[in-house]
Amino acid sequence: MFWLGALSAFWLGLLTAISPCPLATNIAAISFIGRKISSPRRAFFSGAAYTIGRSLTYIVIAAVLVFGLTAVPRASWFLQKYMNQFLGPLLIIVGMFLLELIRFDLPVFVNNKLMEKQAEKSGLMSSGFLGIMFALSFCPVSAALFFGSLVPLSVKHDSFFIMPLLYGIGTGLPVLAFALAIALGVKSLTQVFNRLGRVELWVRRGTGVIFILIGIYFCLRFIFVLF
């Protein structure tokens, strides 16, 4: 019986990921994670960090709801309304970083090897952060599946860690798989032409452009409500 519930939680996550409504954020996540084409291993860990970020968010929300800190309807409407509005400007800023239109210059007193490790670590952190942000941006479908199906399921099975965790994995897994497939595919293709470094630069710029376009889309849709 518990396993059936666990399976349902995972299935609800998959349903959320493949529904058309979070498509824009999924495209952003796939391009962000898949941009590390020189190292599919890094793309995998980045995808895993993204998925963990999502799961963590769902676990925290479920916990907040269960401990009665807030009511389900208010939490749901609040997140649907304000997170999507906040996401637009955020995506544009992240896109500008990827395009190096704006940048933070870190002081160069650390040696190269340490820098590399630092970069890898901050890459994972930013993927996790992206997972948290995108998980918080509920749209009607994901709100219905999370607040309407997953939270009652967690209550029924008295499981407020495993169920949201599996749901989060379900929402992140398709993104991870796509990103990894793209990273692997592009890598093998570019290795033939021996132009890995150059392609990676353009992939990163492409990701930046995608982030900015999706950010503008979110601003026009949720802040200015033009369509």
Partner: protein, 176 residues
Amino acid sequence: MKIKTIVTVGLLAFVAGSLGWLIFKTGPDKKTEAAIKSYATEVTSPSIPKARPTGSGNPSVSPRPDRVIVYYFHTTYRCPTCHKIEQYTKEAMESGFSQALRDGRVEFHVLNIDEPANSHFIQDYKLYTKSVVVVSIKDGKQVRWGNLAKIWELVGNQQLFIKYIQDEVNGYLQEK
């Protein structure tokens, strides 16, 4: 280099403009928040609401005391899936209950809960997103209601969706 500067300034201006507009716009929204909060404490048993009827006939004219009301609640912001749910629900109602809709035993209403007059439904029926809610009225009182939460899982299959709505509404009708 010059293009880069223009793009950077343009995007930053757009972000600033968006945030500015957002803050400017949040003013009137506070009223809705306050309305939601006050309803949370005030409303214990939801009153039978006035609603904008849709569909064939005019069910709100001299309705019988016992009836089943089906609501589709949406917000000002619409999404493709939400349009689909509204369309399928309407189809389910019109194809399954055309006679009952005409003689007033069943009512179907599409309401925007972002309108202040409708915002109390959020607390009345514990709405967390766009929803289809079935309400049973007996002797002018609401005796039972339910949120048809499965609509989101079934929206990919029109036939199953319509059958689900019709079975649920039939269940409420047969209680009488």
